[in-house]
C-alpha cells in the first residue's frame, strides 16, 4: 500500500485491475484504493508478471503493507516487517482511539520508539470500517481536508501578499491564439496562470518544495498542484509534473484530462502526493480575491481571483482594464515578504509577455 500523501495511514482495496499471470508495465493501473482523498488508481512501480494477490477487495490495510507479489521476487515473500507485529500505543491514545472508533494498529506512531501518541490519534483520519459508499467517500474527502488544513493552520506561520495584475496583454494574446485554432487546440486562461506560476516557482526555489522534519528542502522539479473542486463539495489538488517545462498546449491538455479524471474518480497514485506548490483559482465563482491555505508539507500556494474590468491608471490616464488579484500564501519559516513580493512580480512579468510563456 503506497503512501498517497503525508496524512495517509491506511487505504481500503476496492478492486483489482490485474489478475495473477498478468504482465504489467511500470505505470499500469493495478488496483483501485479508497483513501480519504477519494478513489485512487494505484500504478505499478515495476514491470513484471503478477504472481499472487495478497490483499482482498474490501480489506483496509496500513501504508507499507504488501498488496501483491510479482513473479521472481522471492525476497518479497518474507515481508521485511511482519504486518502482524503489534503497534505500541500510549494509554491516553488508546482511550481516545476507542472514543473515536479508530484502530490504533493501523497508525504509524510518531512518539518515542514509534509509539502511537494521543496526537497521532487526533490527527488520524476517521471513518475506518466497511468499504465506503459514495457518501462516505465524500465525508472522507471532507475529513482529509480537515486534517490537512488543521495541520497547516497549526504548524505553518503563513504570510500573505496580494498583487493586482492587468491582464490586457494576456487576454489579447489568448484571443488571437484561439481565434485561428479549432476547439481542441484552444487554451483557457487557467493554462497561462499555471505556467506563469510554475515558471516563477522554478526561479524562486524557496516557494517550491517540502518542509519536513529536517526543515525545508527545495524540490528539483516543479510539480504544480492544481486545486480542483468536486461537484457537490470537496476539493483535491493533484499535480501536473514538471509544469514549468511543458508548453502551454501540453499543459492545457493535461489540465483538461486531470479535471475530468478527478471528477470521474480516477486520480493516479503518481499525481496525488507529489505537488511541490499549488495553484487555486476561484475566478469562475466571481470572488475578487482568494486567501489560500498552504497544503502541508508544501510551503506556498498561489490564488487567482476573478478577472474583472475595472478602472486602471496607465500613463496618467484612467482606462478600463481586465484585472485579476493574485495572492501568495507562503511559509515564514522558509521565506520573507520581500522574496514573496519578487515571486508575485515574476508571475506578473510572465503574464505580461504571454508569447514567451
Amino acid at each position: 500500500m503506497p503512501s498517497l500523501g503525508a496524512d495517509m495511514e491506511a487505504g481500503t482495496l476496492v478492486e483489482w485491475r490485474v489478475q495473477p499471470g498478468a504482465h504489467v508495465h511500470r505505470g499500469d493501473v493495478m488496483a483501485l484504493v479508497d483513501t480519504e482523498k477519494g478513489i485512487i488508481d494505484i500504478e505499478s512501480f515495476e514491470e513484471g508478471m503478477v504472481e499472487r494477490l495478497i490483499v482482498q477487495p474490501g480489506a483496509r490495510v496500513p501504508v507499507g503493507a504488501i498488496l501483491a507479489l510479482f513473479e521472481g521476487e522471492p525476497t518479497k515473500l518474507a515481508p521485511p516487517q511482519s504486518a502482524a507485529r503489534a503497534q505500541r500505543v500510549s494509554p491516553a491514545a488508546r482511550a481516545r482511539a476507542a472514543q473515536l472508533g479508530i484502530d490504533p494498529q493501523t497508525l504509524k506512531g510518531t512518539g518515542p520508539q514509534g509509539v502511537v501518541t494521543l496526537q497521532d490519534i487526533e490527527q488520524a483520519p476517521a471513518g475506518q470500517g466497511p468499504p465506503p459508499s459514495p457518501a462516505a467517500g465524500r465525508a472522507g474527502i471532507r475529513n482529509a481536508i480537515a486534517v490537512s488544513m488543521s495541520r497547516s493552520k497549526r504548524e505553518i506561520p503563513h504570510y500573505y501578499l496580494q498583487l493586482t495584475m492587468d491582464l490586457r496583454p494576456a487576454l489579447d494574446w489568448l484571443e488571437q491564439f484561439n481565434a485561428s485554432r479549432p476547439v481542441p487546440e484552444r487554451l483557457l486562461l487557467a493554462a497561462l496562470f499555471n505556467k506563469a506560476t510554475a515558471r516563477a516557482a522554478a526561479e524562486k526555489p524557496g516557494f517550491n518544495g517540502y518542509y519536513g522534519k529536517a526543515g525545508f528542502e527545495a524540490a528539483k522539479s516543479v510539480h504544480l498542484g492544481v486545486a480542483i473542486a468536486l461537484r457537490g463539495g470537496g476539493l483535491v489538488a493533484p499535480a501536473i509534473h514538471e509544469a514549468d517545462q511543458k508548453t502551454l498546449p501540453v499543459l492545457m491538455r493535461e489540465l483538461q484530462d486531470l479535471v475530468m479524471r478527478v471528477r470521474a474518480g480516477h486520480m493516479r497514485s503518481s499525481e496525488i502526493s507529489s505537488a511541490t506548490i499549488t495553484v487555486t483559482s476561484l475566478g469562475d465563482e466571481g470572488v475578487d480575491v482568494v486567501y489560500p491555505i498552504i497544503h502541508p508539507p508544501q510551503v506556498a500556494i498561489v490564488g487567482f481571483g476573478s478577472v474583472v474590468e475595472r478602472p486602471w491608471a496607465i500613463d496618467g490616464r484612467i482606462e478600463p482594464r481586465p484585472l485579476v488579484s493574485v495572492t501568495l500564501a507562503a511559509d515564514h519559516r522558509v521565506t520573507d515578504g520581500r522574496l514573496g513580493a519578487q515571486f508575485l512580480a515574476r508571475i506578473r512579468d510572465f503574464l505580461t509577455r504571454p508569447e514567451d510563456l
Binding site: 484571443e175 484561439n178 481565434a179 479549432p182 476547439v183 481542441p184 484552444r186 483557457l188 486562461l189 487557467a190 473542486a229 468536486l230 461537484r231 457537490g232 489540465l255 483538461q256 479535471v259 475530468m260 471528477r263 470521474a264 474518480g265 475566478g283 469562475d284
Partner: protein, 98 residues
C-alpha cells in the same frame, strides 16, 4: 423561465447527453433539466464548458467559435445551436443558388 421555443429533438438530445456524461461523468443524465443552464445545475466551470465544446466539435465536426460557447449553456440551447449549424452545412451555399 422557459420561453425557449422548440423541444429538443430526441435523437439529437440523446447524442448531446451522451457527450455531456462523457466529459462530466459525475453528472446524472436522467436529472438534466433541458431549459436550465449547466452552470446552475451542475456547477459547470470554464473547463467543463471547454471540454463540452471539444466533445461537440469531435462528434459533429462543428467549428465552434469561442464567442458561441454561451449558446451551449443548456441542453435546449445546445441542441438548437447544433441543429442550426448542421442545417447550415447541409444547405447549398448561397452563391450557388441562381
Amino acid at each position: 423561465m422557459s420561453g425557449s421555443s422548440a423541444a429538443v429533438e430526441p435523437a439529437l438530445g440523446a447524442q448531446i447527453l451522451a457527450l455531456l456524461v462523457e466529459i462530466a461523468p459525475d453528472v446524472d443524465p436522467a436529472a438534466v433539466r433541458p431549459a436550465e443552464d449547466f452552470r446552475r445545475q451542475f456547477d459547470f466551470d470554464s473547463m467543463d464548458v471547454f471540454s463540452f465544446a471539444t466533445a461537440l466539435h469531435a462528434k459533429f465536426g462543428l467549428d465552434i467559435p469561442e464567442r458561441d460557447y454561451r449558446q451551449l449553456a443548456s441542453l435546449e440551447k445546445c441542441a438548437a445551436y447544433v441543429a442550426a449549424k448542421l442545417g447550415d452545412r447541409h444547405a447549398p451555399p448561397a452563391a450557388l443558388k441562381s
